[in-house]
């Protein structure tokens, strides 16, 4: 169960991340996305590189500092050991060459004692020989006066008595045995030893004290600390008592603390410990003879100044690198995304119909993609044209069918009338009728044209009316009032004839001769428009019938050829647009007026071709919309 839950959770998490990524992708364009990804990678890489270099440098500085501290401590320990060895040698020289060699009451003893002091007075503060009661036997320099100190109670004296074989070395302290005329205290390291001496013939033992100038050791240690940067060195006893420290006065006053007891607990070597809450490396090295320890403290942030400087170098370099990489990223992102964006733009333009060309460029994959898109569009275009061609064919056949609807009824009636005329020996009339019928048929066919001259259309109407007048035995009159300039303009063919047919059937066809039925055909131009009207003074019709004439052909009673006015209206609009068409005005018992509204377009073969093609295009757009 738990596994399932976990799997479900993981799946949900993955989906969330995918959705998030998709949202981001949708929100950004390809260039921004590329730029963001490259920039993020650049930043991460630069930071990681910077940190690696910085930490390596820091480590190397630390290693160098520790190594320096180790070598400096080693050489300093050697120096201090040498000084102490010299002191021991002096001590031994006094003991074996002077004290044990000469009688202490002898002048030569004093001379030799003084001479040895004089030779070494750059290192020695004082020399003294005490008897077993602590009484002074000899002292150098002679000028010094003895203080009222109880010598036998002093540490160096006691140590000399306790450890017979050894030369005892004290910690640095203020010399307190002799008065000083300079009103200054002297810091010394005391070397004391139990010695055998000759007092006349009586052997005796005493304590030899050699006070070494502490400044000799201090100088060496001061030099060590000089120019050591943050690293510092101090000297302590093996139980942690600080003998020398560059900040000893601060330590004594509690302004600075040093954990010397921890360092004193270590054997010689390098250790990592926390000093005053700061992680540090300490280098410990012991001195011979004394057991004192020289400790070097290398803080973690050693050579802060140089590290800080290097840190700034790294940051400045990283920033400059980032700047350069951002520029490179920008160029790369643009180089990659530009062809894609151009392709996208060209596809968009193609879709809106602004451009017909698809952009081809960029990398081979993008070029391939562009070629594919272009081919797809070409194929679509070809298919579209095929569809339009088929549509046009269908429409033409429909139009042809509409136009051809006139013929059967009318032809049947006309031929019947001609038959009747021939039977009644009205040959002249028959000939006239046949000739008019021939004209009518010729114009009807018009070699398949849809657009003809208005004069031809009117000729067609006149022929039709001539035939009808014969058939209706002149029970009505027809008058054509046509402006000359109208005749040479374009019209859709067979639009007037259906109006005349309607005027006869619904208007004047049923009127008697004496009722004076009349049909007036007018043709006039107003501005850029042409109005062709067929007006009769027949019985007229109600408004309801008028309203239905151009909308619902089912409700209109069909007579004659059966070609509805709605067909005329539709054909005009198909050819010239929605703003043109047919309008009917009628009043019951007053008559009816049908007005054809078309644009005034002078007829030429080119114009005719254009109109017929435009008509096709319009039909195509309408098809696409559908």
């Amino acid at each position: 169960m738990d596994q399932k839950k976990n799997r479900k959770k993981k799946h949900e998490k993955r989906n969330t991340i995918q959705n998030m990524m998709q949202n981001i992708s949708a929100w950004m364009d390809i260039q921004s996305l590329l730029m963001t990804v490259l920039s993020a990678m650049t930043i991460v890489t630069t930071i990681v590189m910077g940190l690696l270099i910085y930490s390596r440098f820091k480590m190397s500085v630390k290693e160098t500092a520790i190594s320096n501290a180790e070598s400096r401590i080693e050489s300093t320990v050697d120096q201090v050991n040498n000084e102490l060895r010299n002191m021991r040698q002096i001590c031994n020289a006094v003991n074996y060459n002077i004290v044990q060699e000469y009688d202490i009451s002898d002048q030569e003893f004093s001379r030799q004692f003084s001479l040895l002091y004089e030779v070494n007075n750059d290192k020695l503060q004082s020399m003294a020989l005490y008897d077993s009661d602590g009484k002074i036997i000899a002292a150098e320099p002679v000028a010094t006066r003895e203080k009222n100190q109880k010598v036998t109670e002093q540490d160096w004296y006691k140590s000399a008595i306790d450890e017979i074989e050894n030369i005892h070395i004290s910690t640095p302290h203020i010399q307190d045995l002799f008065e000083n005329e300079t009103y200054q205290y002297n810091w010394v390291v005391s070397l004391s030893s139990l010695v055998d001496m000759n007092h006349g013939d009586t052997p005796d033992s005493g304590v030899l004290l050699v006070d070494m100038k502490y400044s000799m050791i201090e100088e060496v240690l001061d030099n060590l600390n000089e120019a050591a940067g943050e690293t510092y060195y101090y000297l302590c006893t093996d139980d942690g008592e600080i003998l020398y420290h560059p900040r000893k006065a601060e330590i004594d006053r509690g302004f600075f603390t040093e954990d010397s007891s921890t360092a004193a607990g270590y054997a010689d070597g390098t250790y990592e410990i926390s000093v005053n809450g700061v992680k540090s490396n300490i280098v410990v090295n012991s001195l011979s003879y004394t057991g004192w320890k020289l400790v070097g403290v290398v803080p973690e942030g050693v050579q802060t100044a140089s590290i800080n400087k290097f840190r700034y170098y790294i940051i400045a370099t990283a920033i400059i690198l980032l700047m350069m990489l951002f520029v490179v990223n920008k160029i790369m992102a643009r180089k990659i995304s530009k062809p894609i964006l151009k392709l996208d733009e060209s596809v968009k333009s193609y879709e809106t119909g602004e451009k017909t060309e698809i952009y081809i460029g960029g990398a081979s994959e993008i070029r391939h993609l562009a070629y594919s898109v272009q081919n797809s569009y070409k194929q679509i275009e070809q298919l579209m044209e095929e569809i339009i061609r088929q549509q046009n064919k269908r429409r033409k056949s429909e139009m042809d069918a509409l136009q051809s609807q006139i013929n059967p009824h009318f032809l049947y009636n006309t031929l019947e009338s001609i038959t009747w005329m021939v039977e009644a020996n009205k040959n002249e009339e028959a000939v006239f009728m046949i000739s008019e019928l021939a004209k009518l048929l010729r114009i009807s066919l018009s070699k398949g044209k849809t657009v003809i001259r208005i004069s031809e259309e009117l000729q067609h109407s006149k022929s039709y009316m001539n035939i009808q007048q014969i058939r209706y035995k002149d029970r009505f009159q027809v008058e054509f009032l046509i402006d000359k300039n109208v005749e040479e303009c374009c019209t859709v063919k067979l639009v007037v004839q259906p109006l005349l047919e309607n005027a006869i059937y619904y208007g004047v066809g049923n009127m008697d001769e004496d009722e004076g039925g009349k049909i007036i055909v007018r043709g006039e131009q107003k501005g850029n428009d042409i109005f062709l009207s067929v007006e009769d003074n027949g019985m007229g019709m109600s408004q309801e019938v008028v309203d239905n004439l151009l909308t619902n052909s089912e409700k209109v009673p069909k007579h004659g050829s059966g070609v509805g006015l709605i067909n005329v209206h539709t054909r005009i609009q198909l050819m010239f647009g929605k703003e043109y068409g047919l309008k009917i005005y009628s009043e019951p018992d007053e008559g009816t007026k049908a007005v054809i509204h078309i644009p005034a377009i002078p007829y030429s073969e080119e114009k005719r071709g254009e109109l017929e093609n435009q008509n096709r295009k319009r039909e195509r757009v309408e098809d696409e919309k559908k």
Binding site: E250, N308, K309, I315, M323, K330
Partner: protein, 321 residues
């Protein structure tokens, strides 16, 4: 697309600014250390060893360059002002000043205030009220009181009818006024009498002769370090007819005089602490210009002969090295 372009340009500009900032930081690290001038009377005197050691240690810790002005006697405000003006011309960044005697010193320091930061050491300016300047010094009134307490404590036969001669430092100094006030207040009711008071002036006369010629007293109380050194040194010859010397001194010589039993008791202000703390305050002020420097009182200890050569005193004396 335009938005992307603007973002890109802004990012690049931001990076240029950052790069410039860090490059400046690389080179600004090389700027010179701040310089602090120290003005004390007779700066070469050994009396100032501990003070100068404290100043040097703190200056080293705070990465400051210390200029110890080479001075002689500073008798008046004019002497000190001249030294300050010299250092102002040297473009020092701050001062550590031991104020000159006289009321005018405060007025002179008022002029310096606002121009360069400074801190007073050892004593405040001479005035009825505290100057208000940051001062690192011992409690001078307490020093006088401590000496009085020790006098009463040491004299088992009680101080009644005992005569005391007091040697003071320069007149018109805060140190002098407060130390004598503390001493007098401390001795009040003890029955002793202050027979005379004498203001010590360095280099002018043979002070020990003058003191020897004054009315004989049982105790000499010396409230000035230099006077203590001079008078104490002459005590070896029993010049003062057995008068016991109690004094204030912060020099190694004063301690040696105690060691040599020339003087009975010594009150020692910790000059190392004075130097160390005053320089710390100055360092803080130089690091943060809005920092308000604080005054503080430094430690004062009484040393007797028997205390000498103890580990504690050895540690104290180390600051004179």
């Amino acid at each position: 697309m335009k938005k992307n372009k603007i973002t890109f340009i802004l990012t690049e500009l931001m990076l240029i600014v950052l790069a410039a900032f860090f490059i400046i930081r690389i080179f600004s690290d090389n700027e010179s250390m701040k310089r602090v001038a120290v003005i004390v009377e007779d700066s070469g005197d050994k009396r100032w060893d501990a003070l100068l050691n404290g100043l040097k240690q703190s200056a080293e810790n705070n990465n400051l360059h210390l200029i110890i002005c080479n001075t002689d006697l500073i008798e008046s405000m004019e002497d000190e002002e001249e030294l300050i003006n010299e250092q102002l011309q040297n473009n020092v960044d701050a001062f550590v000043i031991c104020p000159a005697p006289g009321k005018e010193t405060k007025t002179m320091l008022n002029r310096l205030q606002g121009e360069k930061p400074f801190i007073l050491i050892n004593e405040d300016t001479y005035a009825e009220e505290p100057s208000g300047y940051a001062t690192v010094k011992p409690d001078n009134y307490k020093i006088g009181q401590m000496l009085a307490e020790r006098l009463i404590q040491d004299d088992e036969e009680q101080l009644e009818n005992k005569k005391i001669g007091v040697i003071l430092g320069k007149a018109e100094t805060e140190e002098n006024v407060n130390r004598i006030a503390g001493l007098k207040d401390g001795l009040e009711g003890s029955g002793c009498e202050i027979s005379w008071e004498y203001n010590y002036a360095r280099g002018n006369q043979n002070t020990s002769e003058i003191i020897a010629s004054k009315k004989q007293v049982d105790y000499l109380v010396i409230l000035d370090n230099w006077a203590l050194e001079e008078v104490g040194e002459a005590a070896e010859e029993n010049k003062y007819h057995g008068a016991k010397i109690y004094g204030v001194g912060s020099s190694e010589k004063a301690i040696v005089l105690l060691d040599n039993q020339n003087i009975e008791c010594l009150v020692v202000p910790d000059d190392y602490e004075t130097g160390y703390k005053s320089m710390n305050e100055i360092a803080k002020k130089l690091r943060h210009s809005f920092y308000k420097m604080n005054s503080c009182e430094t430690e004062v200890r009484i040393i007797n002969k028997e205390d000498l050569y103890s580990k504690d005193l050895e540690r104290f004396l180390y600051s004179y090295e």
